[in-house]
Amino acid sequence: MVEKNGTEKEQDFNNPDNEVTSDHIIERFNGDISADTRDGYQGYIVSPDRFHEVAKVFRDELGYDYLSSVTGVDYIDDDHIEVVYHADKIVGGEGINFKVQVNRENPVVPTLVPIYPGADFQEREVFDMYGVHFEGHPNLRRILMWDGFDGYPLRKDWKEAYYEEDVKPFDTRWPGGQVKRSEADSPYGKNVSYPPDFDIDNWSPETDDSLYESLQKTDPKGKSLQTDSIVVNIGPQHPSTHGVFRMVVALDGETITDLQPVMGYLHRNHEKIGERNTFLQNMPYTDRLDYLASMGNNFGYALAVEKLMGVEVPERAQYIRVLMAELTRIANHMWAIGFLLNDLGAFQTPALYAIRARELILDVFEATAGSRMMCNYMRFGGLARDFPSQMRGEDTIKFIDDLVNNRLPQAIDELDHFLTENEIVRSRCIGVGVLSAEKAIAYSTAGPLLRASGVSYDLRRVDSYGIYDRFDFQIPTRSNGDVYDRYLIRVDEMRESAKICQQVMRDIPSEGEIFTGKPQYNFRVPAGESYGRVENPKGELGYYVVSNGKANPYRYHVRAPSFVNLTVLGELCKGHKVADAVVILGSIDIVLGEVDR
């Protein structure tokens, strides 16, 4: 049902020289750390008092140098909030998770930012959603909601204006369903509610002044040329921010001295809605996370829940899953490259070629899954449906065969030919936004961003899922870690993905089941926690799911690669010109649906 806690055993296996094992740690921090023995849970529970010391030992002595995810869970019945950390070794091997439990009234946890800088935004998110105060955090302010918002939305006792019931399905829908729009019940006709003591006449809105003041500016003294520091807001409505994303930039002349990303302009409350949905109902919502890679999102969520349910996926479905995930990767990278070039000023032409190649892939999705972007294709234990027999007047298998063997490789080669040696691209990209390997790991970056810095970390290899172990493919890496390498790595990855697709089409069994058992809409999932993750085009996409044995997840958290990758954006942009900020952002390749969720 739940995977065994393999951390102890795996420790010796991976670090033969390292004598420190988890048992030793428990012994050493006598009483301050214990194994999580709840049914279906794994990992450790650490007391907040010596949390820093323990985390340092995890990182330095046990080798868990990559903090992938930080999140919170509100166990309201036990009257505590749990902050859950997932850490990995960059060399590979199974991850570890550790938790800190604090009371709900005054939750204080020491921050991990000095040890894992990648915890920065994720801790701010936990603060925003649960009100957990991270002691020592350099910039603890709300991240998804705005300063001054009332309440901590993900707490179980917090209810929104349109609250109907704790879990779906709602009773008002059937059998006596009388259609009613939710706004009819609000005195304001809108999705709003205010605290009872709110007095509008003696109230003034929060301003962004503190944010602007917190930015690091140059000291005008001691410079030959007297220049003023100015603060510029790029976004949330800006053609080059890839959606509703805002960068607050402090400038000295044209040079960036500091940059703070501001997000939440597309915060659609995935996790709150996700906890009300049944497990199955969350599947179409995952499409709308990273809406350029919905198949990958489906895949990760299906894996997380399948881990809890312990169902097997039939052979043919496994192959189709890999095919779809890899086609998604090509489509996503096409888009990323096209719009990186847009940001560089090559307005439209490269993007048009890239979109054209993507359209061919979308045709396959539309014909099989039923929608171009919102595929909703995977189910727990298989897939929704098999390939159709015909596509565009041709045999589907022939069509996909031709796509992965001829047209996509051609499109990739053409893009490569078109851009790689272009002098303007090279001069704008080489040496811009350099990210060192150490920093890339420390800031928990993932995906192409990490691999362009020379770290060969790809979940398809280090924590293989599905049937990826059957295919022959490389994990491309580059060493410079600049924008140009991030572009090249995407081209390399597309080639590898095409290679995987070709192998899938060669090996896929021509007949077979695509779903285990009978499709059910109403089922319970065994209690426990599960962290399912996939290597999405943008990096590690993780789903942390807690079930309490009912049909709805108790906690549903998405570790979004775009969101975590943005942690390093400020660091990357410092010292560059303001025009480069747009390019660096383009090279990280974010999708706001996933950043803000």
């Binding site: 209810k159 509008i200 939440g264």
Partner: protein, 214 residues
């Protein structure tokens, strides 16, 4: 000249058929506007991707004279609200709308922009942009396919065709008023509801009461 421009109400002598076309001022005015609607570069969420695909080579919005996506609202005629409108974003959207010069049009693309969409129940989601700015055309779908969006744009063209110089509001005596920009407080505050807010401050139903009402 274009066939669709000729006015059948006014007869043209046969010998002049090939050289003269008579049209009405309204017709030529609307023809010019409908064939060069410049949308604003304004993408919110998933639907924005489909909007970009509509502008790309396969569906090619340029065939409608609409390919000139303007990054500034000052030069735009049409705002395609393409995606979920959140409370945090709505002040900016209203401000952008106010900055657009008349004549201006708003299209709600997709379920979210029309009425909240699948995320309607969420605490940070506005249930429809029409709660704040007037919407001309609604395009349902989640997301609408590029062809559905094109259909919506054609509906907008039809709407423009139906307008007359005599009655359009932007040549009227009164200048159109700007929509008051919402403010972010403990929740989203609409200045137009200030009186209601002030009045209900004391006895405003708390979340829990709303639950009871349902």
């Amino acid at each position: 000249m274009n066939d669709e421009l000729s006015n059948p109400d006014i007869p043209v002598p046969d010998e002049l058929q090939s050289t003269v076309t008579i049209t009405s001022l309204d017709k030529i005015y609307n023809w010019g506007r409908r064939s060069s609607i410049w949308p604003m570069v304004f993408g919110l969420a998933c639907c924005a991707i489909e909007m970009i695909c509509t502008a790309a080579s396969r569906f090619d919005i340029a065939r409608f004279g609409m390919e000139v996506f303007r990054a500034t609202p000052r030069q735009a005629d049409l705002m395609i609200v393409s995606g979920t409108v959140t409370k945090k974003m709505v002040p900016q959207i209203v401000r952008l709308f106010n900055q657009m010069p008349e004549p201006k049009y708003v299209m709600a693309m997709g379920a979210c922009a029309s009425g909240g969409g699948p995320f309607k129940e969420g605490y940070n989601v506005v249930s429809g942009i029409d709660k704040f700015v007037p919407v001309d055309v609604y395009v349902p779908g989640c997301p609408p396919t590029p062809q559905a969006l094109l259909h919506g744009l054609m509906k907008l063209q039809e709407k423009i065709d139906g307008q007359s110089l005599k009655s359009v509001r932007w040549y009227g005596q009164e200048a159109s008023e700007a929509v008051p920009v919402p403010v972010l407080g403990p929740d989203l505050l609409d200045p137009r509801q200030h009186a209601l807010l002030a009045q209900q401050a004391g006895q405003m139903p708390v979340n829990v009461d709303i639950e009871k009402d349902l």
